[in-house]
Symmetry: C2
Subunit: 259 residues, 2 copies
């Protein structure tokens, strides 16, 4: 873990150097752990099995990453496997998008969630135990308000491909409405320069679960004539419920669970 922290500090410095520039380097994991993640032996609980359980929505409603899996999740997120896993998802999405015959009437939209989908908060979570620490809304908000989250490169690649295919993009995020400005600026800095809509969680959804809020907003989209041809998120609450779209794509996220 010491090595990980050391490397992380080095990364933070690297990222900070770019913070005054217009764009954020597309690097969510400059770190290189000593050993490969994705199959490390963990005595007792199999963290690999736990992660698969999370990704398949078998392990639900958990509050924090199991303590014994901190190193495992850290290595996974900072190593090659997270990016490889994300690449397979994005590649499947690209193949699917290319296979469609779109009407090109401006009504085909692709939904992206923001956190751990369009943008990566890995620089934050690397400083907070990769999900082992209980969620701290104050510190996380502070990080969000810096507006320095890099793109998840695989999502940005998909985004650019979708635009080239004539698809419009809608961002649908659980971030609250009062983070609109910083979110707009962060998306632009990270390389997302255009979108049809950016939907943030309005106060009327206060206390409502993400699944309810996102289903309701997707329904509104469809009722106003949009066709949701694809829907990508890191949480199952992005992808389940109603009006989920023609096909959904689940990006990995073993760091937190949102109902």
């Amino acid at each position: 873990m010491a090595l990980l922290l050391f490397l992380f500090l080095a990364t933070t410095l690297t990222i900070s150097q770019g913070s005054d520039q217009e764009t954020i380097p597309h690097k969510v994991h400059l770190l290189r752990p000593q050993s490969g993640a994705g199959g490390d032996h963990v005595p007792g609980l199999s963290c690999l099995s736990w992660r698969l359980g999370v990704e398949t929505n078998n392990v639900v409603g958990w509050i924090t990453v199991p303590e014994e899996c901190e190193d495992y999740v850290g290595h996974y997120m900072l190593g090659h496997q997270y990016r490889k896993d994300s690449r397979v998802v994005a590649n499947q999405a690209i193949l699917y998008a290319q296979s469609l015959s779109l009407a090109r009437d401006g009504k085909d939209v692709w939904l992206f969630d923001i956190d751990e989908t369009a943008l990566s908060n890995l620089p934050y979570f690397a400083q907070h135990g990769f999900g082992v620490e209980p969620y701290n809304p104050t510190l996380f908000k502070k990080w969000v308000m810096e507006g320095q989250a890099p793109a998840l490169p695989e999502s940005l690649t998909l985004y650019k491909k979708l635009l080239s295919l004539g698809t419009k993009v809608v961002f649908l995020t659980g971030r609250p409405e009062d983070q609109r400005t910083v979110t707009v600026n962060n998306l632009r800095k990270a390389g997302y320069h255009t979108w049809e809509k950016l939907i943030l969680k309005g106060s009327s959804y206060s206390g409502k679960k993400a699944l309810v809020y996102k289903s309701s907003e997707r329904k509104k989209l469809e009722e106003s004539g949009y066709r949701i041809i694809g829907n990508m998120g890191d949480q199952w609450s992005d992808l389940l419920g109603t009006n989920v779209g023609n096909r959904t794509f689940k990006l990995p996220d073993p760091m937190y669970y949102i109902s």
Copy 2:
């Protein structure tokens, strides 16, 4: 691969010795591959990422396992990781079932798929490239008609726990109606001694997709007063569609995909 085949033959002999007995040993993987699966480095395509993509329903509609992943999938299925992954799913299901306050009016049912859920066809697939060979309906039917498929031990553990909690079990399988007798006998031999219903695919569903057939049969169950409190399968077509139940559980299966 040669070692795998040699070990497999040894297993086949072991399993055969028990074939005249009333029960089938609960062993789906006597084999011990040389190296652990779940994280082996595969040049080019990451088979681990491909498998995660399959399990999360990002990689859909595939016909065969990618050729370069035969060894990977074989090691995974015959090694510890498949069983560990299955155990996490079954344990989550047990925790969930224990958390429920059941009416005990005989209307609470738990759905199990059969192939790669209640029963394991691993002895067959180990002889047929673990899904690399295209599906051969003649040979697979021959294997099914032998009625010698062992239980997936984790599913059998869950089954017994559910019965002890007062839950009734319904098997809902894509096997055709004319395999009822062999399926009844195989389930009993493997350790499943009682159930509320065993639903096989009737001729009226001929040509219909599994998702349509299973949704329709689940709807009938609910319309006749049953409450589907849990639903476990190895295919997303067991778990998506309508009337899916209060909670679903996805067992691993990187060997084939059923729409």
